[in-house]
């Protein structure tokens, strides 16, 4: 084990890369989730269809193949990404597809009476969603977004296959250098687990912040 610990500088580097992939991927996934999720409930059929095609494509094909496609195939058409960007884009687009379902479900979970109250106060469609519907939908989204964030963290491991030096990549290096197999992988398992635990804590904090003083799920009941 000591031999492996000696490689701590590259393990730290790998951890940072994994966190980078996760955080940047999460930001992209969040943006995609809202755009695609809201497009799904658009009153324009064409926008809804585009959103469904997007969702089904990214949900219905392998994330690893999507990543290979972005990193190896797109350059053939003149679109170049460095490895980290390709990893972030693949993770973000993929998890964003799942996230769009979360956004859509949460927005639809806000009751019809909230739409009617907004209309009675003469809110435009934009103001209704911006100030009434989405603020109530966000607390509903957060727990499921938390699960997706952990999925995203685990998905970043496949980014090692497009030469990104994340934790998994570094474990492979240590394995080759030390001829040890159990130790490096056991170590990164623990590191992944610790990162996941921290992420869960952060999501819980955010959830608390958003639900402070509110009782949205039971509102509308008498």
């Amino acid at each position: 084990m000591n031999e492996v610990i000696e490689f701590y500088p590259i393990l730290i580097k790998g951890t940072i890369t994994t966190i980078q992939l996760t955080v940047l991927g999460a930001i992209l996934a969040l943006i995609v989730s809202f755009i695609v999720g809201l497009a799904r409930i658009s009153s324009f059929a064409a926008i809804r269809v585009i959103a469904i095609v997007y969702l089904e494509f990214f949900r219905g094909s392998s994330a690893l193949v999507q990543m290979f496609f972005i990193y190896f195939v797109l350059p053939m058409w003149g679109i170049y990404f460095d490895a980290l960007t390709a990893g972030v884009v693949a993770c973000g687009l993929n998890v964003g597809a799942y996230g769009s379902e979360v956004v859509r479900g949460a927005v639809l979970a806000v009751g019809k009476e909230q739409h009617e109250a907004s209309k009675a106060l003469n809110y435009s469609i934009y103001k209704k969603y911006r100030y009434v519907i989405i603020p109530q939908a966000i607390p509903i989204m957060i727990p499921t977004f938390g699960n997706l964030l952990i999925e995203l963290l685990k998905l970043t491991a496949v980014a090692s296959l497009i030469t990104i030096s994340d934790l998994t990549f570094m474990a492979q290096i240590i394995r080759v250098q030390t001829a040890l197999t159990l130790e490096p992988f056991l170590l990164i398992l623990i590191i992944y687990f610790i990162i996941a635990t921290i992420l869960v804590q952060i999501v819980d904090l955010i959830a608390k912040k958003f639900s402070k003083g509110r009782n949205i799920m039971t509102a509308g009941d008498k």
Binding site: E113, Q114, E116, A117, K119, A120, L121, N122, Y123, S124, K127, Y131, V132, P135, Q136, G213, R214, N215, I216, T218, A219, G220, K222
Partner: protein
Amino acid sequence: MENIIQFENVSKSFGDLQVLNKLNLEVKDGEKLALIGPSGSGKTTILRILMTLETIDDGFVSVNGEYLWHEKNDGKIIPASENHLHKMRDHIGMVFQQFNLFPHLTAIENVQQPQTLIKKKTDAEAKEKAEELFHLVGLGDKKDQYPHQLSGGQQQRVAIARALAMDPKIMLFDEVTSALDPELVDEVLTVLRKLASDSDTTMLTVTHEMNFAREFADRVLFFDSGQIVESGKPESIFSNPTKKRTKEFLKKFINNVN
């Protein structure tokens, strides 16, 4: 006085169920109107059509001298655009049976936000108006609570303040005490009585509280099967109903008649 609301031959169906059948109705500016009748008789639909929550199938509705569901374009009458509806909604406010407060905002934010977003008031103006209205509905000490921390009666009073904050010419009250526990009904009706006597706003209320209808209204309309069966001053409707269906309906509220 001029008619602020006019229904001309308005029909409305939900699937096979016809809720309004060639309805004609005129409401004068400042009039206080109570709509009574059995459930499903179309009373609530009238309010919902005025608030643009339901479309009409046939006929014309006018508000403040303009068509509500239609507009004129090059001399032709066409279905109303969203812009037209937006302009018309400015005249009308509504209070719902289930209050429909925004649960993510405090009581006073519920009253302030629509003023700043829609009436383009400054935060200070909106706050001043909101506090004035909280005083009016007797909730000065509850303004920073969230809706779920308030009783039904308190929530409904916040909802009334929220609708009033928009300064509508017409206020619609849709069974505003039906969702309340019996002991909370009075605190809401007291506010409504005060409003009815102090303001020149036109008010339409759908209610099952016959005593309240009697005190509140200048005119009472008895509805059944999408039509006005009988209309008149509260005294004549409640004391001397002429139509058989009105009599039968009022019998169920026997304690409230005489």
